[in-house]
């Protein structure tokens, strides 16, 4: 991993886009990194556009913003249309293929696809879709090992119901498995 990386999460309100960013921020902070998470959403919390930019760095973070993130996690079609051109060359585009009905046009970025909603539905609830994707991303990115990540999730979820924590961890691991098999 380079000294500083910036990951954009984008989708519509209600998809857990901001939560995903916050979880990654938490996890990275626990590994001792400098982190920041800049939120951007419209007046409408559900159904409107939502995105957040996570910066993870070995050093003090000067700018928590960027026009050109190295990685973009794209949860719906409007977000792909808006951010595809912004990703840095040789960057990574992670795509929720359940919700995005076209392929990216860029040929200078790595494209990782995942039917996030389908995988979440198989777990019985689409509400954990964001955790499925997060699991896959953490596995692929290699910021921390998965056991460590699960421990940190306990800290992040502290105070929530056991069943909810268990479901989210299950979803996280489904994502991890998917990445191991499909994103080699």
């Amino acid at each position: 991993m380079s000294k500083e990386q910036q990951v954009l999460f984008a989708g519509f309100g209600g998809q857990g886009v901001i939560s995903m960013g916050q979880f990654l921020t938490h996890l990275a902070m626990h590994t001792g990194k400098e982190v920041s998470c800049a939120l951007s959403y419209g007046a409408e919390m559900r159904g409107g556009t939502a995105n957040c930019l996570v910066t993870i760095s070995d050093e003090e973070i000067s700018s928590p913003l960027t026009e050109n993130p190295m990685t973009a996690i794209i949860m719906n079609r409007p977000s792909l249309d808006r951010f595809e051109d912004k990703i840095k060359p040789n960057g990574t585009l992670v795509l929720n293929s359940s919700m995005v009905d076209r392929l990216p046009q860029r040929d200078d970025v790595e494209v990782l696809q995942m039917p996030v909603n389908l995988l979440a539905d198989q777990l019985g609830t689409s509400r954990v879709a964001n955790m499925v994707l997060l699991g896959a991303f953490v596995e692929k990115q290699g910021l921390m090992n998965i056991d460590q990540a699960l421990e940190y999730l306990d800290v992040v979820f502290k105070g929530k119901q056991e069943a909810i924590i268990a479901k989210n961890k299950e979803a996280f691991l489904v994502g991890v498995d998917y990445a191991r098999k499909e994103w080699k």
């Binding site: 921020t25 902070m29 982190v35 800049a38 000067s62 700018s63 913003l65 960027t66």
Partner: protein
């Protein structure tokens, strides 16, 4: 000590509580509402007072009442709400009542929008309400500083008996970062002037009406001397790579961090740039800006505002010594890459590349 992830707005609220603030009076407005939300949750559990007032006017006058009793109290709002509070802030200044007023700026004028802005600079740094006064204005640039400068704000307010404003952009209010949570403040200055019940002593009176000419003159003279003392003691600023710089960026709040990155980018492209970051917007670091103007070739004010507001203070500080450029827009926070591009244009114009 453990770092905790906090939104900038939450860091303000927690910092206030740790500074001993036990009274929050506000009226919610985006993008400041998380402060009120946090206080509504916390205050009742620590013996504090949270009031969602019926209006901004009511809220600021509750601050007046609370501060007059010697308690550490605060309010928080955004531009449109701060405008409404200005009458009360003028009264607080004349009553010499210490308190913290938080402005999480959004775009204006009018109701404007909820997107980030630094366009409340004028009303923050020029008193804002009627009459001859200033208030101390602090501009944090990280979630950590949202906490630290909130705590400093209460300290300065008590030290100088003045309202203090903490001014930040909506971007910073919503920025989540690790915060080292500071220890609770346990030592407070005495407030022998406070209205605490006068059994066994002469009554204290907090009053802002001074009809006799001499009384008004004496009051204003006293305030003027106090502002002079604040100017000599409380100016705070930061410099980054200014010593050999040809082109100096001046930016505050979150823009200072973005400008810092742009400085590094521009240096990698061969332009000798540096940054001055005012931390106190009033009193403004005129001396620092003036000193650096003697050695640099041009300056750029970078603000989240289209008209340019702080640029006027840079002009005052530099007194025509160097050309001053402007980069600014409203309703979004520019990225370092965009600023770097604009710096290239300015550097070319000034013959620096």
């Amino acid at each position: 000590m453990q770092r905790v992830l906090m939104k900038g707005n939450e860091a303000i609220a927690e910092g206030a509580i740790r500074a001993g603030c036990r009274g929050f009076f506000g009226y919610p407005i985006t993008p400041s509402s998380e402060i009120a939300e946090y206080m509504a949750r916390k205050m009742p559990t620590i013996g504090g007072v949270f009031v969602q007032a019926e209006s901004e006017l009511a809220a600021i006058n509750m601050v007046y009442g609370g501060a007059a009793t010697g308690a550490r109290v605060m309010t928080a709002s955004s531009g449109p709400g701060i405008s409404l509070k200005q009458e009360g802030i003028s009264f607080l200044a004349e009553g010499e009542l210490p308190c913290l007023i938080v402005d999480i700026c959004r775009g204006g004028p009018g109701l404007g929008g909820i997107q980030p802005s630094q366009a409340d600079y004028f009303q923050a740094t020029r008193g804002g309400g009627h009459g001859d006064y200033y208030i101390i204005v602090l501009a944090p640039s990280s979630a950590q500083e949202m906490m630290d400068l909130t705590m400093l704000g209460f300290e300065l307010a008590d030290k100088h008996r003045t309202p203090v404003m903490l001014m930040a952009e909506g971007t910073l209010g919503n920025l989540i970062e690790p915060v080292l949570v500071r220890d609770e403040v346990t030592e407070f200055v005495d407030k022998p002037w406070a209205i605490t019940g006068c059994l066994g002593r002469q009554p204290n009176i907090v009053n802002t009406l001074h009809m006799p000419v001499e009384q008004l003159q004496t009051r204003n003279q006293h305030l003027t001397e106090k502002y002079q003392a604040i100017r000599s003691q409380e100016i705070r600023s930061e410099e980054f790579l200014t010593e050999d710089a040809d082109l100096i960026l001046v930016a505050y709040g979150i823009m200072a961090r973005i400008a810092k990155k742009a400085v590094m980018n521009a240096r990698s492209l061969g332009i000798k740039t540096g940054l001055i970051r005012p931390i106190t917007l009033w009193p403004y670091p005129y001396g620092v800006v003036n000193k650096i103007a003697q050695t640099c070739k041009a300056m750029v004010s970078i603000e989240i505002s289209t008209t340019g507001q702080m640029i006027e203070d840079i002009k005052l500080a530099t007194a025509g010594k160097v050309p001053i450029h402007y980069i600014g827009e409203i309703a979004r926070t520019p990225n370092p890459e965009e600023i770097t591009q604009q710096l290239l244009v300015i550097a070319a114009k000034e013959g620096l590349i």
